[in-house]
């Protein structure tokens, strides 16, 4: 029986696992306050790191969400790998359906979260946070104790290369899904056929 490997799925699966490993250490988006930095936000679906005055701040709920994202992406990547070596089985469609969506959802949720967070933070604080690029933020007077002082903060926001890599991985996953249509299914396995006849 012919058992071809789906190379695109294999690449998608490996790159998904690679993306997880990279994203733990390199953020998808970085927001730096001050020069030299006094505060920094490193954000990716698998790692949210907030450092203020050099002290990292860990929020347990966000840590748990990051862990959930790691497990979800890892499961997607592993299932894609399994699919890649069995792309023409009757159950392959389900494996593919499970695996290819994970990086895609991660990228989409990340972009939505990022936009929502910047809008929310801007609405609450009255400061327009940039999503990308450098700029200056004028701190509203009501946020400055004492008064008589105006404060302007230099900030830099930038998408880091893992974000673009994540888009590439999502692209591989979509390509895997599209390529699957061209893979002919093998004949139904005898055991399943038997069971179907019995039923």
């Amino acid at each position: 029986m012919e058992n071809k490997i789906n190379i695109i799925a294999l690449i998608a699966g490996i790159s998904t696992l690679l993306l997880i490993a990279i994203s733990v250490f390199v953020p998808w988006w970085r927001f730096t306050v001050g020069n030299p930095a006094i505060a920094q936000v490193n954000f990716s679906p698998v790692n949210f790191n907030l450092a203020l005055f050099g002290s990292p701040i860990t929020i347990p709920l966000i840590f748990a969400m990051n862990l959930a994202c790691i497990l979800t992406l890892a499961s997607g990547g592993i299932v894609l790998l399994i699919y890649s070596i069995r792309p023409n089985k009757p159950y392959s469609q389900r494996l593919l359906g499970f695996g290819y969506k994970k990086p895609l959802i991660a990228v989409m949720l990340f972009v939505i979260e990022l936009i929502a967070l910047t809008i929310l933070a801007g609405t609450v604080s009255g400061i327009a946070f940039p999503l990308m690029g450098s700029g200056t933020l004028q701190i509203p007077q009501q946020m400055i104790p004492g008064g008589g002082v105006s404060v302007i903060v230099n900030v830099i926001a930038a998408f880091e290369w893992p974000f673009y890599f994540a888009i590439l991985v999502a692209g591989f996953c979509v390509a895997t899904r599209l390529y699957h249509r061209k893979i002919p299914l093998t004949a139904t396995e005898p055991s399943i056929t038997k069971a179907t006849i019995t039923n």
Partner: protein, 215 residues
């Protein structure tokens, strides 16, 4: 096929519910701790600021500017005036205090050395200082000062920051007409802009830096 679907569904649910449920169970007695950690509480309560008594730091220079008197033309007159009792903007992000001034009458330039204390529990880099020097008597503009050499001030330490400036012929005439025979003039720094770690603090109210010697 059905079994596979169920297994994949359970994996999907387990991957999300497991970590989040685990965190909720761990913090079940203090659910707010899931988001508001002791570190965040500390920041909200302002514990990050370890303000110290400036009077204890006046002699605690970190040596960044120990050679400040040698950086200028030897023809300048050293009018060192250790006026450490003046505190300009005390209790702020950083506290500048006047230390001494040097005047070069021929070039109409001067240098002012200020003592800057880091009141935060974090090393700060003073990128620049710009200000207008005014007579505190009638806010007449005497000149401008600036310093664009970054100086790093360590936690709780005081560093000497030297700023240079110029004055105009008009300012000279003003002093000759209004302060004839006076040995010093009380001045303010107006429109003071301090860039610390890329955070630009603009003081809208004048900072009194005390008496600056004229001779």
């Amino acid at each position: 096929m059905q079994t596979l679907s169920v297994v994949l569904l359970l994996i999907s649910i387990g991957c999300i519910v497991g970590p989040i449920g685990g965190a909720v169970i761990m913090y079940r007695d203090n659910l707010s701790g899931l988001v508001v950690t002791p570190q965040i509480n500390s920041i909200i309560n302002g514990n990050n600021n370890n303000s110290q008594d400036n009077s204890n730091n006046n002699n605690n220079y970190n040596g960044n500017n120990n050679n400040y008197n040698n950086n200028y033309d030897t023809s300048t007159n050293d009018n060192g005036n250790n006026n450490n009792d003046n505190s300009g903007g005390g209790g702020g992000l950083i506290s500048p205090t006047f230390v001494s001034a040097q005047i070069n009458s021929q070039a109409r330039t001067f240098t002012v050395t200020v003592n800057v204390t880091n009141n935060f529990s974090y090393d700060l880099t003073l990128n620049s200082i710009n200000a207008t020097v005014e007579s505190s008597q009638d806010n007449y503009q005497l000149g401008t000062i600036s310093s664009n050499t970054p100086v790093t001030i360590l936690v709780g330490q005081t560093s000497l920051v030297t700023v240079s400036g110029t004055w105009t012929q008009d300012a000279e005439n003003y002093i000759n007409n209004n302060f004839a025979g006076a040995t010093s003039i009380n001045v303010n720094l107006a429109n003071t802009t301090i860039d610390v770690n890329g955070i630009i603090v603009q003081q809208t109210q004048p900072i009194n830096v005390g008496d600056v010697p004229l001779t």
